[in-house]
Each structure stands twice: as C-alpha cells, then as structure tokens.
Symmetry: C2
Subunit: 115 residues, 2 copies
C-alpha cells in the first residue's frame, strides 16, 4: 500500500429514503468526489448495472484501500463502505453521498482496522 502504516478506518454507511440510485453517471461522479474529498488517490473504478429496475454496484480502488456502493432503488436504500488506511479522514466522504442521494436517514458506524 502507499501508506507506511496499515492503520486505517472503515466506515459503514446505510442510506435510507435515498434517490438517484439507478443513475450510473451520478454514482460514478459521486465515488470520484468522495475519494477526492478525503484526499485519496484513485487507481481504478468499476460499475455494474443490474438492469430490469435493479440497482448498481460500484467499486473504487484507492491507493489507500477502497470505497464501494450497492444500491436497491426499489427500497430507496444504499449500502456504502469507505475504507482508508493511514491518516485519511473517511468522514470527509459523507457529504458527497448526502448531496448525491439526499437520504432521509443515515446510519453510520466506524471500525478501526489494522491496529
């Protein structure tokens, strides 16, 4: 990894009452923005559309670990996780998700990794 420490923080983020969950372009842009908000280095991004009214899975691979999103438009629900090693502040990603998906309710938990 690019950091000299394996210490990191893993944020699990559940969005309820959310919108734009089938919008692939917006999800792509939001993953990029969330990574940039944390100062992370983007290595690769992969998006998969499930079709037939289904959701989208997005994975952005970072030098500092990853961000993933899985959306269920039929439940207005999205599950996101943001894992970054080193001194990155994963909480800086949250406003990007709020702005894009406008959830009515958010549940968050943070977990120390590698300590």
């Amino acid at each position: 990894m690019s950091e000299d420490s394996s210490n990191g923080t893993h944020l699990l983020l559940d969005l309820w009452g959310a919108t734009n969950l089938k919008n692939k372009e917006l999800i792509d842009a939001t993953l990029h923005e969330a990574a940039r908000a944390c100062g992370a280095t983007i290595l690769d991004i992969h998006l998969h559309e499930f079709g037939n009214g289904g959701g989208i899975t997005g994975v952005i691979v970072l030098a500092e670990s990853h961000i993933t999103i899985h959306t269920w438009p039929e439940k207005s629900y999205a599950a996101i996780d943001v894992f970054m090693c080193g001194s990155m502040d994963v909480s800086k990603s949250v406003s990007s998700f709020k702005d894009a998906f406008k959830p009515k309710r958010i549940e968050m938990s943070t977990h120390s990794r590698g300590k």
Copy 2:
C-alpha cells in the same frame, strides 16, 4: 441486485501473523474460493499489486455484493471484508482465508446491513 431483499451481512476480518500476502495468484484463487464457499455468483475480479515489496488489493464483485482484501506483507497483516445480501452465510468464506494465509490471529466482526 440479484436478491429480492436488501438485507445482508457485512463481515470485517483482520488477519495477523499471516503469510502469502504478496502471492497474487493465490489471492486471486482464494477470493474465487471464498465466494464459491458462500454460494455467491462472481461477476468480476480486480487485483492491484503495489510493487516494491508492497501488498495487494483485491476486489471481487458479486451478484450478492462484494469481497475485498488489502494486504500489508511487511506487517503480516491483511484486512478483508465480505458483504453479501440475502440469505448468504458470509462465515462460510472464513476457512478459505485461513487455509490460504495461515494467520496466527484473526479478529472478526459482523454487521447487519439494510435492516
């Protein structure tokens, strides 16, 4: 997503005193095996080698969500997460990681998502 329910379980797995953490072929095979052990449907896999003695990041995208691994060979440490929606039993993946990386110590936590 392929499941009719967004309910899922997210397993965070920390391996300490682990081996084979630079072995890209083994990591590739282990991600496949872990997904198969849970009965998950593999959509895509991406592996990134950091080089210069650094670790590997691996992401396997599933119809049921994802598995990721980030390794720090210099610390004999790997951070894994296994997220599957529906009725999948994520704990069935653990023996694949134990067999491949032979950790001296494992820390695990499970988190309900989408409930």
